[in-house]
């Protein structure tokens, strides 16, 4: 199994600012993903973080708003840019996938004022 950590665990931010969330996996994983979970809702996939190339974004999510980096097989970052209160959510990263179990980090709870 993979153990995934995220930083920060929570933050309160002002609108118009940006926040970068870090995700670290304790072992190399083929695939890493970023999800958003709005209050009381299910998880929605934002993008697949590809190692060494641009992330693959889902419909409704764009690189300018959610730039993603993945410099190696164990680390990825998600930036939430130019935040508004509508961006208040839990952001979760995961690793694994393919035919394997996908493990999740503890999430980052973001509140935008």
């Amino acid at each position: 199994s993979a153990v995934i950590s995220q930083k920060p665990s929570r933050d309160i931010c002002q609108r118009g600012t940006s926040l970068t969330i870090q995700c670290q996996v304790d072992s190399q994983v083929t695939m890493m993903f970023w999800y958003r979970q709005q209050p009381g809702q299910s998880l929605t996939l934002i993008a697949t973080a590809n190692q060494g190339s641009e992330a693959t974004y889902e419909s409704g999510f764009v690189i300018d708003k959610f730039p993603i980096s993945r410099p190696n097989l164990t680390f990825s970052t998600l930036t939430v840019s130019n935040m508004s209160p509508e961006d208040s959510s839990i952001y979760l990263c995961s690793g694994g996938g393919g035919l394997d179990t996908q493990y999740f980090g503890p999430g980052t709870r973001l509140t935008v004022l």
Binding site: S1, M31, F33, Q41, S42, L43, T44, L45, T48, T56, I90, L92, S94, G97, G98, L99, D100, T101, Q102, Y103, F104, G105, P106, G107, R109
Partner: protein, 113 residues
């Protein structure tokens, strides 16, 4: 569109009783995974069942998969108050470029002591 749909949306049982949760999906899958989430925290992976499997067990958990009906069930036997959480099914669909999980809306389970 939602790939996985759980039912019921909410379930309240007495400690010691069994809890059965169902998940239906729409398209062919590689595998189906069940997760637990405690009160806005990270997701805990429970069981992965592959498309060529029909039943799996893990401790007090039993998962079945019926690909002809495109449905799965999660049974928790002898429930405990600590099982109180939200439960999600997630289907892994190979898209050609890579695979990704699509989550259902979740089931809220309350176990009364």
């Amino acid at each position: 569109s939602q790939q996985g749909e759980e039912d019921p949306q909410a379930l309240s049982i007495q400690e010691g009783e069994n809890a059965t949760m169902n998940c239906s999906y729409k398209t062919s899958i590689n595998n189906l995974q069940w997760y637990r989430q405690n009160s806005g925290r990270g997701l805990v992976h429970l069981i992965l069942i592959r498309s060529n499997e029909r039943e799996k067990h893990s401790g007090r958990l039993r998962v079945t998969l019926d690909t002809s009906k495109k449905s799965s069930s999660l049974l928790i036997t002898a429930s405990r108050a600590a099982d109180t959480a939200s439960y999600f099914c997630a289907t892994d669909v190979y898209t050609g470029a890579n695979s990704k999980l699509t989550f259902g809306k979740g089931i809220t389970l309350s176990v009364r002591p």
